[in-house]
Symmetry: C2
Subunit: 163 residues, 2 copies
DNA sequence: TTCTTTGCAAATCGTTTGCAGCATG
DNA sequence: CATGCTGCAAACGATTTGCAAAGAA
């Protein structure tokens, strides 16, 4: 994702307005590595901008996705996650708390191996997701307590279990 | 996923019943490579079993996932897809019609490269998804017509565009 | 018969949309 | 001052759940 300076130029160039709400969402995303959901960002921003609405957060996120500035992905926890890093890279996803983090450098296939075409498909991008249990959840499961897993819509999971 | 013979044994062993509905869903999945949604399976089965309900399809799919027989995944089209192939492998996903197919053999990282641990995470499985445009959609886009893209909840996409 | 499963109808809940008032350029 | 943006409230829709009737074992 480009920085707010450039986005401001872009939005003005197409007759749009650089409203405080838009800029706030842009800034919140700028160096974010937490792969937040719309609700995450809303909660974070509400503190300094109490009048902000969740609807607006969704509007701004969706337009960023349309502009190709933001990647939107579903890990199966019932919430859409967003990532300002639009280059292909690997991610680590906890099956229990649904935390998402970038995999350490060197993990996953190098970006240069992304083919242009595969089985007749024009390939645009690739995602690699490693599912497992994060250190906190491993600890919590070891103790046997329930810990405090993050949101989980009804009983959804991404399909695997065990330890 | 194991075949219906084995699943029948399993379900009976734990005091369950091999109902026609369950067996029908198992059979439908047995050699399926289309990565269907619950609705897909329901539509397919309704023809030969008109009394089957969508609720039951969900019940059966969810228990298969709990048993570790079925992988459940979200491609961002607003529908949960299911895959009886639970081994790590790469998939091709069309950004326009949301068709999912297995990548040709040799594409993606070999299964043996799945690490046990990564950044403190206990790794259980990995998914590799290649996003792009399938031959049909490339053709449709070339013609400039709208073609007939498969389901798409409101205006969701998985994040990328262009050709 | 007993205990599981089915399937209808209703509830959930993240996300999207309609629209009236507001604020940016 | 005109148009684009915000945000409330309502709509949406895939999936889940409560529960009474049905059917395996």
């Amino acid at each position: 994702m480009r920085d707010s300076e450039q986005l401001m130029a872009r939005v003005r160039a197409q007759g749009g307005k650089a409203t405080p709400q838009r800029v706030a969402v842009w800034r919140a995303l700028e160096h974010d590595q937490t792969h937040p959901t719309a609700e995450d960002l809303y909660a974070r921003l509400k503190v300094t901008m109490p009048t902000l609405s969740l609807t607006t957060v969704y509007h701004v996120l969706n337009e960023l996705v349309e502009w190709g500035e933001l990647r939107r992905f579903d890990i199966g926890d019932g919430h859409i996650h967003f990532d300002p890093d639009t280059a292909p890279h690997a991610e680590l996803i906890c099956l229990r708390c649904h935390r998402v983090m970038d995999a350490p450098a060197g993990v996953g296939m190098p970006a240069e191996t992304l083919p242009n075409e595969l089985a007749g498909y024009r390939i645009i991008t690739r995602t690699e997701q490693y599912f497992g249990y994060c250190p906190d959840c491993r600890q919590a499961m070891r103790i046997g307590s329930q810990g405090r897993p993050r949101s989980a819509l009804h009983g959804r999971s991404t399909g695997d279990a065990g330890d």
